[in-house]
Amino acid sequence: MRLPRRQHSVLPGFGLTLGFAVVYLSLVALIPMCALFLRARGLGWMGFWSTVTEPRVLAACRLSFGAAFIGATLNAVFGFIVAWTLVRYRFFGRRFIDALIDLPFALPTAVSGIALTTIYAPNGWIGRALEPLGIKAVFTPRGVVIALTFIGLPFVVRTLQPALEDLEADVEEAAASLGASRPQTFRRVIFPAIVPALLTGFALAFARALGEYGSVVFISGNLPGKTEIAPLLIVTQLEQYDYAGATAIAVLLLVISFAMLLLINLLQRWSGRRHLRGM
């Protein structure tokens, strides 16, 4: 008996369900991913290293990481404000806005990309307003940030909402009764309590943004070294029949994604909760 080393429960179906879950996960996800690693192994360590350190790859990764980081940060800041107003304030249209948060999740990324480009292009609704200010939104790294912010928003808001809801009013009242001003209460009582959730949301938005492709290609401009993101580079390599190069970058992204996920799980363990709604 090797599978369940220890079984606390008398509930039936452990072997069946775990077996199914593991076999399914292996067939659908793990084994195909092995193919990726095996193909990249053909390069050897040196080949892998020289591929991922090419200036163009480095530039793409810098952009992907940088834009994902900025997007996730924007989401952390504005997502926090959005979550706060949704949880704390009662105003007209709150339910509608609350429901709308998941839109980036439900809207196909290509449609999002086309729609965002339409709006932020110099002749679009918002782009027209930005143009006189000298701000070019599309076909610049800013465009990448716009797309990635759009994609990541639900992750931050949906992670923060339950955490904010769980904050008990009596803690804040206690702080107030001890003489803390509202900003002090926020800084020293509320904020530390939701930092784990905020970090988790940030990490999820970041991990998702790192791999995003569909919405970005429409809005970024795709200039090598300037506005070309790492996933696009994979596609470009593939279309030049350079499988080894494509898999090398893919492996890099995959490993980073996995590391991000482990980090998220650790964060969640740290914050003592694994409940992420709206995901």
């Binding site: 077996g19 292009a121 795709n222 029949y241």
Partner: protein, 361 residues
Amino acid sequence: MWYRHGMKNWRSLAIVGLAVICAVGTAAPARAGKGVTLLNVSYDPTRELYREYNDAFAAHWKQETGQVLTVDQSHGGSGKQARGVIDGLQADIVTLALAYDIDAIASHSKLLAPEWQTRLPHNSAPYTSTIVFLVRKGNPKGIRDWGDLLKPGVEVITPNPKTSGGARWNYLAAWAWALKRELGDLNKLDDPKQAAAVAAAQAKAKAFVGELFKRVPVLDSGARGSTNTFVQRGIGDVLLAWENEAFLAVNELGPDKVDIIVPSLSILAEPTVAVVDANVDAHGTRKVAEAYLQWLYSPTGQRLAAKHFYRPVSVDMVDPALLKRFPALELVTIDQVFGGWKVAQKTHFDDGGVFDAIYAK
């Protein structure tokens, strides 16, 4: 007791595993249905051409053989489509932007014979095209030829030569023009005595093309993406486009918005076609596939090509009224200036090539 329990677990695991394998493995049979079906894997700007040609050929085939023919059509970036075929996209026919992409299929997959290009007339290119400029209505920046693209404040739109066949033609046309400007006569390229002058001209051409691509604000991955960027988004002052794309854009997107400008010199773009041997043999469609490509050279095929703004290879078969739309200009070939696709690809577009150097800084 624990042992028995363990056996049960493993057994259920095995059953589940089989079930999943069955579910996942219900791969679709490659072909089904009555009559005969061809899959034509093509590149982006041929959508309109093949939509009409497929219907015409199917009617012709029915008349000839009584067989009902369906042609499935797949469009995308030329390189992407070639990769699809290499990876198993069941194309009977490929009609791609340039010979290099079909060469890639031959060399990466052994799906078709290396000498495929010799099997049909005119280098296996039943129609040709060239690269022209699309500018804003009234040509406000006064662009007449390649040299004007470097005027201050001019923004150029072109797709990415790494992923778009059309963009490679754009790039090579610009290069050829620069060489011509420096050398005066492109025949000097083959003259060993002029080697020093040629080398100097090549350096000038490189500088010209490098400068040109510095004026590109958006590199879409395909020709259609660039057209949309230029017309829909209003980005850039000039779009480097296939001649047929330029005509189509004017027709579809509004003659009131853009004008076509024909430069003094451009490149003869030869979109090539081929039958994918291994696939037609597996599907039993060789006969119809070969007829499909042959018929492109027929009067109907040539007329349809001309109708959709491709230059027919047999001008005598086509109504002169249609031909009148194609402006005369000096056209150079890739063999003449660049020594063929393989050399051009290696020098300019492969990783570490000249194109990469433009963006390396």
